[in-house]
């Protein structure tokens, strides 16, 4: 049949089942494909891209670690827990800000457990900041998707300004300037939301107003 087709159509491109008739011809390309792909994609691609990225962007590629006095104090991309009055606080985390077990609350809007959690946190914040609940920034009450969201909204930072300034005994305006410096605009002027990196802000506060 094979030769028939070729001679009749005058082309060398044979279309038949015969190429696959033997067991050998079915399994060998499949095994070969798996082997070749494991090597090219799993090894060559992964290793060369990872190596090149490490060479080109050493700081970013190794976890954007923040170094103070020669020691790593955290990653600029990962929220740290802050709960004292001396520091700005980040967003609620459903994983206790543990970067090894990141995740969100996964509570649905209809889940009473979510309402209970928000109500409890809202009561704490209204008490702490002496504000009606309806003026609390949402991001300070909603837990983040990752549980280690490093940012808060500028409104959430503004809310905490007075508390931190009072605890450190510094003028609010001076601290306000620092917060402003640490407020990032949408990237490239268009992408994403304005935001404040809580860890970097707190480190800057520590550095400028040495209270230890």
């Amino acid at each position: 049949m094979n030769t028939d087709l070729i001679s009749r159509s005058g082309i060398s491109r044979a279309v038949s089942d015969s190429a696959l008739s033997s067991q050998h011809a079915i399994w060998r390309p499949a095994l070969g494909l798996a082997a070749v792909m494991l090597v090219t994609c799993g090894l060559v691609y992964s290793a060369s891209v990872t190596g090149l990225a490490g060479l080109l962007f050493p700081q970013q590629a190794s976890g954007s670690l923040v170094i103070v006095d020669g020691k790593a104090v955290g990653s600029a991309l990962v929220a740290q827990p802050f709960s004292g009055d001396m520091y700005f606080h980040g967003r609620p985390s459903s994983v206790n800000t543990d970067p090894m077990s990141t995740g969100g609350s996964n509570l649905a809007p209809s889940n009473p457990a979510l309402r209970d959690r928000v109500a409890a946190e809202s009561a704490v914040l209204t008490e702490r900041y002496q504000l009606p609940a309806t003026e609390l920034p949402v991001d300070l009450l909603a837990s983040s998707g990752s549980g280690v969201d490093p940012h808060i909204s500028p409104e959430a930072a503004a809310l905490q300004l007075k508390r931190v300034a009072a605890a450190r005994g510094i003028p609010t305006e001076v601290l306000g300037k620092l917060v402003e410096q640490h407020t990032e605009a949408p990237q490239w002027g268009i992408f994403g939301q304005p935001r404040v990196n809580v860890l970097l802000l707190n480190l800057a506060v520590d550095q400028q107003f040495l209270v230890k």
Partner: protein, 578 residues
């Protein structure tokens, strides 16, 4: 604004990419031959094949299935024994057999549904070697089947010489797959990976550093005193995760994790990568079929449905989360979302990731407002708005066949597509495809919901049913996203999802291949005045209607039991609070 810019950039980049893909898969000489042809020659030698030899639909299908079987077995074994294999600096232990099986099948079917937590349960070898390989190869395999179906629509590569009823040449499966990986996936992924690394996605083989946190000595005993920052060759994986409609991320919360998606620019790159190849395939189909009009119609239909859903999801997330009513300012739903993205970019991602069968997330879908939840599951049920690489356009062609059939009945002509008649055998196969999603998804949802001991849902009421439905829909659509509150690492969930994954991957790819193979053999009827045109507004509207009606018929009751019911529930809760 940034939403529109991202969509526009995706479309602008997909256009030339589609032309490039037409070039490399058309079988004609192409400038990329200079670079890749020698490498491919070497690979084909290892595979022991003659790459220019064509395959008919049967050989093509068998090669597709066998290569999947082999890859699946290898992946399963490597995952099973990761604890004794090298590249495991953090000393991660073994997976249970059902979790290893689910993980292997999930990545083999281009789904990337994850019942494990990546950073904690998989070694660098499992993530960087096994999973990355599957993330490259499985979209290429889907694309290969799509190419074969497209060639079938035009009567095969030997259309000029073959006689009516003679087997047609649908291309060489191995050549298509290898080319898709080498000439398409690898170069794109390398570029995206470097861009992401520049934004801060980790890219290293070093073990994860542990750092003491800044605030120490707090009264709360729960507060961590040190953090371990999980690293790894993350950028390399995230790039192909996004490009290959894979979706399985390095970290548990996927691209919501700031290490996996650190900045808004990284987010824009990852969002574009999510839809880039699926959109490019529409342009490619136009080129390969030499039917630009049909491609324009396809682009318009998909674009219309896509934009409509994006709009609805963004509107939904800009509304407050009902649970926050009266407890915070009136602002968008930020539960499960990241500040750097906000509601709009999260809603955009959620919509596109479910339309394209990608399944990566940058916000937690479990906490979405009900309308956005409805949008995400609709995207997965339709599964042809862009869709997964290869399988998405194949699903779209299935809808086209059905629309052609129905339109043919309405105007009283034998339904035909590109001059080839759709007859009883083809329609019977289409019938199987029509019934399949609802049969599989609804059956498994019903069983799981009926037995509370195996359900494992974390949210009460209608949302609990929605969680189960979402999980099976996501498995069947080979999407992989989830309502992650579900306790899904149990033998029941792992094994039932394996069955759904396999049914959802192989039948919707192989059956259209059979239909295309059968169609290809038929005599081509010349174009005439009576031919149903597939490129005008009338057919586009018909197609949209067919897509919507079919899905409403199958899934409307389950939607009422899920997000629609939940929305009503929330309105009544809000009423009570006032």
């Amino acid at each position: 604004m940034d939403v529109l810019l991202i969509l526009a950039l995706a479309l602008l980049l997909a256009w030339p990419l589609g032309a490039y893909m037409t070039g490399i898969f058309s079988g004609q000489k192409h400038w990329s031959d200079k670079v890749f042809a020698p490498v491919e020659k070497g690979i084909f030698k290892i595979l022991g094949i003659n790459a220019s030899a064509g395959m008919n639909w049967k050989s093509y299908g068998i090669a597709f299935l066998i290569s999947n079987l082999v890859l699946g077995v290898i992946a399963f074994l490597l995952l099973m024994f990761q604890h004794v294999l090298p590249m495991n600096p953090d000393g991660i232990g073994p997976l249970s057999w059902d979790l290893a099986l689910h993980t292997a099948v999930s990545f083999l079917t281009n789904t990337n549904q994850q019942h494990y937590s990546g950073q904690a349960q998989l070694s660098y070898l499992s993530q960087g070697f096994v999973i990355v390989t599957l993330q490259f190869v499985t979209p290429a395999m889907g694309l290969a089947v799509c190419l074969a179906v497209l060639r079938g629509l035009m009567g095969g590569r030997n259309v000029k010489d073959a006689e009516e009823g003679e087997e047609r040449d649908l291309g060489n499966y191995y050549q298509d797959t290898v080319r898709a990986v080498l000439r398409l996936m690898l170069p794109l992924a390398a570029v995206v990976a470097l861009l992401l690394a520049s934004q801060g996605v980790p890219s290293t083989y070093q073990a994860s550093p542990t750092v003491p946190v800044v605030e120490q000595g707090q009264a709360s005993v729960d507060q961590l005193t040190e953090q371990k920052i999980p690293l790894g060759p993350v950028a390399a994986m995230v790039a192909i995760k996004q490009l290959g409609t894979n979706g399985g991320g390095w970290y548990g919360p996927n691209s919501a994790n700031p290490l996996e998606n650190p900045t808004p620019v990284a987010n824009a790159i990852e969002t574009i990568a999510l839809v880039l190849i699926p959109i490019a395939i529409v342009f490619m189909a136009g080129g390969l079929l030499r039917q630009r009009g049909f491609a324009r119609m396809s682009l318009a239909v998909m674009g219309f449905l896509s934009l409509f859903c994006v709009g609805a999801a963004i509107y939904s997330e800009q509304q407050p989360n009902a649970a926050f009513s009266g407890l915070a300012e009136q602002a968008g739903n930020m539960e499960g979302k990241e500040v750097r993205f906000g509601t709009d970019l999260s809603a955009l991602w959620a919509t596109l990731t479910t339309q394209t069968s990608n399944g990566s997330v940058n916000a937690m879908h479990d906490s979405l407002n009900p309308v956005a939840a409805l949008v995400t599951r609709s995207g997965m049920l339709i599964n042809a708005i862009w869709g997964g690489i290869g399988c998405g356009f194949v699903n779209f062609i299935v809808y086209v066949w059905i629309a052609v059939f129905i339109a043919g009945l309405m105007i009283g002509r034998t339904p035909e597509i590109f001059g080839r008649k759709l007859e009883k055998t083809e329609i019977s196969w289409l019938g199987v495809l029509l019934v399949l999603p609802s049969a599989v998804i609804l059956t498994f949802t019903a069983i799981t919901v009926a037995i509370p001991a195996i359900t494992g849902n974390s949210n009460p009421g209608l949302h609990g049913i929605a969680q189960v439905f979402y999980e099976y829909t996501s498995a069947f659509a080979n999407n992989g996203s989830g309502f992650e509150g579900l306790g899904d690492n149990t033998p029941w969930w792992n094994i039932s999802c394996v069955i759904v994954l396999l049914l959802g991957r192989y039948l919707p790819l192989v059956i259209p291949l059979v239909i295309a193979g059968l169609l290809a053999k038929k005599r081509q009827i010349p174009f005439s005045n009576g031919t149903l045109p597939l490129h005008n507004l009338t057919f586009g509207v018909t197609l949209v209607t067919v897509i919507l009606i079919l899905n409403f018929l199958s899934f409307l009751p389950s939607m009422v039991l899920g997000p629609i019911g939940e929305a009503l529930e929330l309105t009544s809760i809000a009423g009570d609070l006032k």
